[in-house]
Symmetry: C2
Subunit: 196 residues, 2 copies
DNA sequence: GTCGGTAATTATCTTTTGTTAATTCAGCCC
DNA sequence: GGGCTGAATTAACAAAAGATAATTACCGAC
């Protein structure tokens, strides 16, 4: 029997695919749920999975030289998350991946995924499409660092992700913007005082 | 007769390819040379080419709201350069691509390239490989903005690209690091004074 | 509802950056 | 070589950010 939840999730992440195309994915994808605060991947681990987030929110962080947790990324529902270091370069994870809320994912081993994709050209087109989206997002993020100052980056973040701002602690958002939580707090105060 | 220059260049950008694999590329790739200060792409233009830089250096910049040229990228020999906006999203270029030195490139129309690749699985593997390298570089650059302060970013840049530092104006480097030229000058002075 | 722990804000101070302008430096053309 | 042009440095000041600590706000457990 077909797992409808899996089917729906895979459809969400695909484009122009028919049921017959995703049979292979459907049978190989596994479901998993992380409790709040639970770790998906720990630094040093070797998890070559691609995760499709169905629900919830993951933060990616590294430990700085001073022993501080620096959040580098936040990902949530309808986004893909994976440890690029591990998948593309066979290295242990450089970061921790932690669920901040109860988080449901569908995941696939990368190598198995590659094998399934290689057997179906329509999946190949889809892989390309997803890869392009990922690259585009990365390039856009680089531009925010080059072209915008901290306040503008925050406003840009709020505008692009209005639903996320109230879902995660500001200190996590601050670090992804390349600033300290204290500084973000001041920026917010500045913006608020300007509005009235 | 085979153009040996083209052949060498394509080999440099490939991995595990044999002569027979790159015949298609060889016949479609075009050579072009830009004089110093000449533009490869102007904002608004629509150039769907992939450029392989054989020699020289290109800077990518945008015009800020204040009318200032902000350099977002520098690329040089043995690197690929392309206008992602245009290629992946059919939009006009958001940036200017300017040669800072006499620059020789090999270029291919993206759609033609796709067609050639689709006819040879070994090229497909190569495309994947290049795409991964491009993504990796983008992700690494994001990390420098999140994890490093301006001074550390500059030191990291010098360490990673020692040969480039003396080849382009500091003001261009400064902007790619997300800081002003004046600030970079101070950072350099600080580093120098610390050394003695 | 109280307690305890953590996040967020605020305060204070230091350091750094942005901005603007003046000065020095370097390359290039004639 | 002298002069021109733009880059780099330096200066001076204002604004912002980092660091640290104190205070306040919030939330979950009991």
């Amino acid at each position: 029997m077909i797992d409808l939840e899996k089917l729906r999730t895979i459809y969400k992440f695909s484009k122009n695919l028919k049921l017959q195309d995703i049979q292979g994915l459907l049978s190989s994808a596994k479901k998993k749920t992380y409790a709040a605060d639970e770790y998906m991947i720990q630094a040093g681990e070797y998890k070559r999975n691609i995760y499709l987030i169905r629900k919830g929110l993951i933060r990616v962080f590294q430990i700085s030289e001073k022993g501080e947790e620096i959040t580098t990324n936040l990902r949530w529902e309808n986004q893909i998350i994976a440890d690029i270091n591990c998948i593309l370069f066979n290295e242990g994870s450089a970061a921790y991946f932690q669920a901040l809320e109860e988080t449901e994912v569908l995941y696939l081993d990368y190598d198995l995924l590659q094998k399934i994709i290689s057997e179906n050209p329509k999946l190949e087109a889809n892989r390309k499409y997803l890869f392009q989206k990922i690259l585009k997002r990365a390039l856009d993020r680089i531009e925010t660092f080059v072209l915008l100052n901290p306040e503008e980056r925050y406003l840009n973040f709020v505008k692009s992700n209005p639903d996320i701002v109230n879902r995660v602690h500001n200190k996590y958002i601050a670090h992804t913007l390349g600033i300290t939580p204290v500084s973000l707090s001041r920026i917010r105060a500045r913006i608020a005082s300007r509005k009235k």
